[in-house]
């Protein structure tokens, strides 16, 4: 590690004022502060409390928390493929298949997103922010495995420019960037995002001989949410939906892997347990009330929260510190409404099987309003107490 530090120190002067690579200073600065905590984070005056870690380290925690779900997602991609074509396969075979299918998506999402971030930072003469570290890994995890790469690239570019850079970059965005990517895909290219044909990769790969090709026909598999939308009963056992051996977006299927990520986030204090818990409370309560009331509501509450992106959204999306409510009381309201709206969309609108995305985006928009009224009611309460 010290070799890297020495190397960075050595090349640093050429990026500073007057150096010949001065034009690329923000790229250098972004890389250096990603690898090492900067010496001067903020001026040491005023009433700020300095935390031990800066926001690049916080983002790294989220990425680490996402790793279990990502690894399981890769394994599940292979497992679903070999299950669908009816072939026996071992653990490593499944995993390698999934790795080969998912890795290009991660590369594309990072290349496009970071490319735009670096360009904009360079253009405006600002330093590079760290926001895309998390979005870049989230985007491949919330798309179906068959989604073409160029479509992911277009959607990522759209989301980074229109959901983030026009609002002023990292920390200023109103909507969650990864979810905007998914929403763009969902409304622009619906045939790659829903239906029966997108969830299982049909590309053939013989991992024993190392041969790959595109031999097999499109493989179909219905997700539990697809079954919900068509009014069928759930076709997977509760055990499968918890462990995650079901078709679905790459990272969202396994409740166990997501729970490990949730523990990491809560232990490190990056995500708020209030938001997380209240999403589940809202979702469970609504599903419980809906159960059996109308024809399309034949899922039980425990099935609702284990299928689709409910857990993934609650743990990794709703708790995004930038776009969620910031007041403590506001977090309860914000999370609760996400849960309620997600289940309402799932049950009442068969056209949008995944209600979690739309619910979180909608509440992203309302989060500042919630905060405003929480603060205002607190002021009123104190004013009343003072005048009594």
């Amino acid at each position: 590690m010290s070799a890297l530090r020495n190397f960075l120190n050595k090349i640093k002067p050429s990026f500073q004022e007057g150096g010949k690579l001065h034009a690329f200073r923000s790229v250098f600065d972004g890389f250096e502060t990603f690898m090492y905590v900067p010496n001067d984070t903020a001026k040491a005056r005023g009433a700020h409390i300095h935390d031990a870690i800066d926001s690049k380290r916080i983002m790294s925690f989220v990425v680490i928390a996402l790793v279990p779900a990502l690894l399981f997602g890769m394994y599940n991609v292979g497992y679903q493929h070999y299950l669908a074509i009816g072939e026996e396969s071992g653990f490593w075979c499944n995993f390698l298949y999934g790795l080969a299918a998912v890795l290009p998506k991660i590369v594309v999402s990072y290349l496009v997103g970071l490319g735009i971030e670096f360009t904009v930072a360079q253009w405006k003469g600002e330093e590079i922010h760290e926001g895309f570290l998390v979005s870049g890994i989230l985007i491949p995890m919330i798309v179906p495995v068959n989604c073409p790469l160029w479509i992911i690239a277009v959607a990522t570019a759209f989301a980074v420019i229109f959901a983030k850079e026009v609002f002023g970059g990292t920390g200023m965005n109103i909507l969650n960037v990864a979810l905007v990517t998914r929403a763009f895909l969902f409304f622009s290219y619906p045939s790659t995002m829903s239906g029966d044909k997108v969830w299982v990769n049909g590309n053939y790969m013989d991992c024993i001989n190392g041969v790959s090709g595109t031999a097999t026909d499109a493989v179909t598999a219905a997700t539990p949410l697809g079954q919900l939308a068509t009014g069928d009963p759930i076709g997977y056992s509760f055990c499968d939906t918890v462990t995650g051996f079901i078709p679905g977006s790459i990272g969202e299927t396994s409740v166990i892997a997501i729970a490990i990520g949730a523990l990491i986030l809560l232990w490190s204090g990056v995500a708020s347990w209030k938001t997380m818990l209240s999403v589940f409370v809202g979702g469970i309560l609504t599903a419980f009330l809906f159960k059996g009331s109308i024809e399309s509501a034949n899922f039980s509450w425990f099935e609702h929260i284990t299928v689709g992106g409910f857990c993934f959204g609650a743990v990794f999306m709703a708790t995004d510190p930038v776009t969620s409510a910031r007041t403590e009381c506001g977090k309860w309201i914000y999370g609760f409404l996400i849960g309620v709206i997600a289940i309402i969309i799932r049950v009442l609108n068969p056209g949008y099987p995944e209600g979690m995305m739309l619910a979180i985006l909608l509440m992203n928009v309302f989060a500042p309003l919630i905060d405003y009224y929480v603060v205002k009611s607190n002021i009123n309460m104190r004013a009343k107490r003072a005048t009594k």
Binding site: W150, F187, S188, Y189, P190, T192
Partner: protein
């Protein structure tokens, strides 16, 4: 003659095309700009209809401006606009029926287009018929330019065609073995709003003095 085409009159005509564009600068008439621009043909027809109606209602109101009682001027303006809209709507139905079906209620809704009332109130009530005519044509064409730009992008990306001619061949499509896919969001008004924002973005980047 020189008075008719003086520099001031030239500016009355060219300002709304660029630095005082009704959509990009005054942000008027957005509703119909979102609704009719999913394809180029209805966008052009709509732009021309608005141009004709703004021009002639401006002239008529300008001729009447001395005789209209101030307290009922809005009603008089509305009657003039409504009469012109009805004429244009019937002409469209007679000669380009398919486009008038596509435009549906939005031809009738030209009556409520803010550009019209804005120009009548702000310009025609104070100026002579010739200046008002130039102002009306300029504003209508300024509106039409933006509609054409947005309509072009939306039709190209949403349907793969321009003016109804297929530009992107069907064999490129994913379902026919290719890689390409039409962008479904381009056909929705939501994307028109974002495109409109892009047009305004570019416009302001070139005209930095516009607040």
């Amino acid at each position: 003659m020189s008075k008719l085409f003086s520099k001031e009159n030239g500016e009355v005509f060219t300002n709304p095309l660029n630095i005082n564009n009704p959509i990009a600068v005054q942000v008027l008439g957005i509703c119909s700009a979102l609704a009719v621009t999913s394809q180029l043909k209805p966008a052009i027809v709509m732009g021309l209809s608005v141009t004709v109606i703004t021009a002639f209602s401006n002239v008529i109101i300008s001729l009447l401006r001395k005789t209209i009682p101030n307290r009922i001027r809005i009603i008089v303006q509305l009657v003039v606009v409504a009469a012109l809209v009805t004429i244009v709507s019937n002409i469209l139905k007679a000669y380009v029926y398919d486009v008038s079906v596509q435009l549906s209620v939005y031809v009738g809704l030209i009556i409520t287009n803010c550009i019209l009332m804005g120009r009548l109130e702000a310009f025609a009530m104070q100026n002579g018929p010739w200046e008002s005519f130039l102002d009306g044509v300029g504003n209508g064409l300024g509106y039409a330019i933006i509609l054409v730009v947005v309509g072009f992008v939306r039709e190209l990306l949403g349907f793969g065609s321009v003016f109804g001619f297929q530009i992107i061949p069907d064999s490129w499509l994913l379902e026919n073995g290719g890689l390409y896919m039409h962008n479904g969001m381009m056909t929705m008004p939501a994307m028109a709003l974002i495109l409109l924002a892009c047009v305004i973005w570019v416009h302001r980047a070139y005209n930095k003095d516009i607040e």
